[in-house]
């Protein structure tokens, strides 16, 4: 059953409508990929799901309940987490403090330290550098802290916006392996990615957005069989991948 259901979603900035009718679903336990050209509305879609933008039309339901209008705290309480695209760590805080911030809205009796230990088990390098300021980390380490911070409240559903953006090609596979690792602990993943070919290898299902609407969707291993998608997005993204 679909854990997340987006229907006819319209949203934008002021008068400027970016999403003009997005339909998408995320199946429980899946890694669902959202792809599309720059400006297609992928990040806007994620911001609208997470309540950072108000939709002007349409709905987002999570576990069958309408979540439009929910605050971020309410969404986190419901088991959602959001890893932003750009590097969004708190630069002058340590790795540990950054992780703590991930549990900011947790109840008083929540075992924050225990959860941090779990994150360290998942990404051991973070424990070694526990007291390092986030500003001193490499791109790959920053991404681990981002993931760890998103996992602090034990989410069952995670929005991940372009986890490989700006990373060296040789560590892109590692990032996807981490996403898969997180997914294997039972977290449903809804992920934007520009490295389409590699991204699809790790995904179960994929959506293609174009100009603010869902253009195609299908199982990840068949979506590139569609010649239209291959021509429109893949050729363009092969060179794009190399330049990243």
């Amino acid at each position: 059953m679909a854990i997340l259901d987006i229907e006819n979603l319209h949203a934008g900035y002021g008068q400027h409508l970016v999403l003009k009718g997005v339909d998408a679903q995320a199946e429980e336990g899946d890694i669902t990929l959202v792809m599309g050209p720059n400006g297609a509305g992928k990040s806007t879609l994620f911001k609208t799901i997470f309540g950072l933008l108000d939709p002007s039309e349409g709905s987002v339901t999570f576990h069958g309940e309408d979540i439009t209008g929910c605050t971020q705290e309410e969404l986190l309480d419901r088991g959602m987490a959001y890893v932003l695209q750009r590097s969004a760590l708190f630069e002058d805080m340590t790795i540990r403090e950054n992780l703590e911030m991930g549990a900011y809205v947790a109840d008083r009796d929540y075992d924050v330290d225990g959860k941090i230990e779990e994150i360290y088990d998942l990404f051991p390098i973070l424990e070694e550098r526990s007291n390092a300021k986030a500003g001193t980390l490499s791109g790959g380490q920053r991404q681990m802290v981002e993931f760890g911070r998103g996992l602090m409240l034990d989410p069952e559903f995670m929005l991940i916006d372009e986890p490989t953006a700006g990373l060296a090609p040789k560590i892109i596979d590692q990032v996807f392996e981490r996403v898969q690792q997180i997914n294997e602990t039972g977290v449903t993943i809804f992920m934007i990615e520009q490295n389409i070919k590699t991204g699809l290898e790790y995904s179960d299902y994929a959506y293609v957005l174009d100009n603010g609407a869902t253009r195609f969707h299908g199982p990840a291993d068949t979506i590139l069989d569609n010649p239209e998608i291959r021509d429109a997005y893949l050729s363009e993204n092969v060179s794009y991948e190399g330049s990243e």
Partner: protein
């Protein structure tokens, strides 16, 4: 080198005056630092410049004056009153006014805080009158001699109170969950929001706490500075701006260093050169920093 300057005293007097000015500068530096961190906090978190900052400080000074001169309440007891009063004033200012221009162009934000400045300044001029007034009683009056140096007791008490307030301020920001939430919002508002931290609440808190710091500072400096509705706030706003610019805009730790430097320049410049131009030295340093190191004398990584 000093010999070529217009000396006001002989060499022997200088030997006494320099350490005197140094320690006075240190004491006053603590209160300048306190004034500066409040402005830096508002600037860093809400990303808005409060031009009416000196007016908020003057409110605390006048409340202290009225308490002391009209009701016989010692200024020291006015600290909690002014902390609460200024916190509420800052918080309400954010909720009623600033919140509406958070996404507006910078020019609109400047005009809004300038409007608040005009209302407060001329409101106080109307209520308190244009004359210069001073607090008449303070339980710590007079001067003490420490190691041959003369210190006014009110300034010592002000330095100590400022230091304690700064320590509490930094413990709050670095050790408490809410304090960390404020820092997180300052560093990356969107990322903080994604963690469930309500940016609107944090902005309001920053305005409240930033204003409460001048609640403490205003109470204390009222014990030895006279006040006037037009001159006093202008002076303190400019001191605060110079300190914050020196420390790197919006950088809270830098603001402490900035306040210290400003105070040292003022006090040592006043002794070594000519005391009439004390403020000129401050602005000379300020302008030089803006020209040659606009990111601030300290780069602690957080400033923007």
């Amino acid at each position: 080198m000093v010999g070529s300057l217009p000396l006001q005293f002989g060499w022997i007097e200088y030997l006494n005056l320099v350490p005197q000015a140094f320690f006075s500068g240190l004491l006053m530096g603590l209160v300048y630092a306190l004034v500066a961190v409040g402005l830096a906090l508002i600037w860093g978190v809400a990303d808005i410049v409060n031009f009416a900052y000196g007016e908020y400080m003057l409110i605390a000074m006048y409340v202290t004056l009225i308490g002391a001169n009209n009701y016989g309440i010692d200024p020291l007891f006015m600290i909690p009153v002014n902390v609460v009063l200024l916190f509420v004033a800052g918080y309400v200012t954010y909720k009623l006014v600033i919140k509406r221009v958070m996404d507006a162009p910078m020019l609109s934000q400047i005009f809004v805080t300038f409007g608040i400045l005009l209302i407060l300044r001329f409101g106080m001029l109307f209520v308190m009158g244009p004359d210069t007034q001073s607090v008449e009683t303070f339980m710590f009056d007079g001067a003490v001699v420490i190691a041959g140096l003369n210190f006014s007791l009110p300034k010592i008490v002000t330095g100590v109170v400022s230091l304690v307030t700064l320590v509490v301020f930094f413990l709050f920001l670095n050790r408490t969950k809410t304090g960390k939430g404020i820092r997180a919002t300052a560093q990356d508002p969107e990322a903080a929001q994604v963690m469930g931290i309500d940016p609107d609440y944090m902005n309001g808190l920053a305005w409240g706490i930033g204003s409460a710091t001048v609640g403490v500072a205003g109470t204390m400096v009222a014990t030895f500075f006279s006040m006037q509705p037009e001159l006093t706030p202008t002076t303190w706003t400019l001191f605060a701006f110079a300190s914050v610019a020196l420390g790197g805009f919006g950088n809270i730790l830098g603001a402490v260093a900035g306040g210290m430097v400003i105070s040292m320049v003022e006090h040592l410049g006043g002794v070594l050169l000519n005391p009439s131009y004390k403020e000129l030295y401050i602005f000379l340093v300020f302008i030089l920093v803006l020209i040659y190191k606009p990111e601030g004398i300290l780069n602690w990584g957080e400033g923007e």
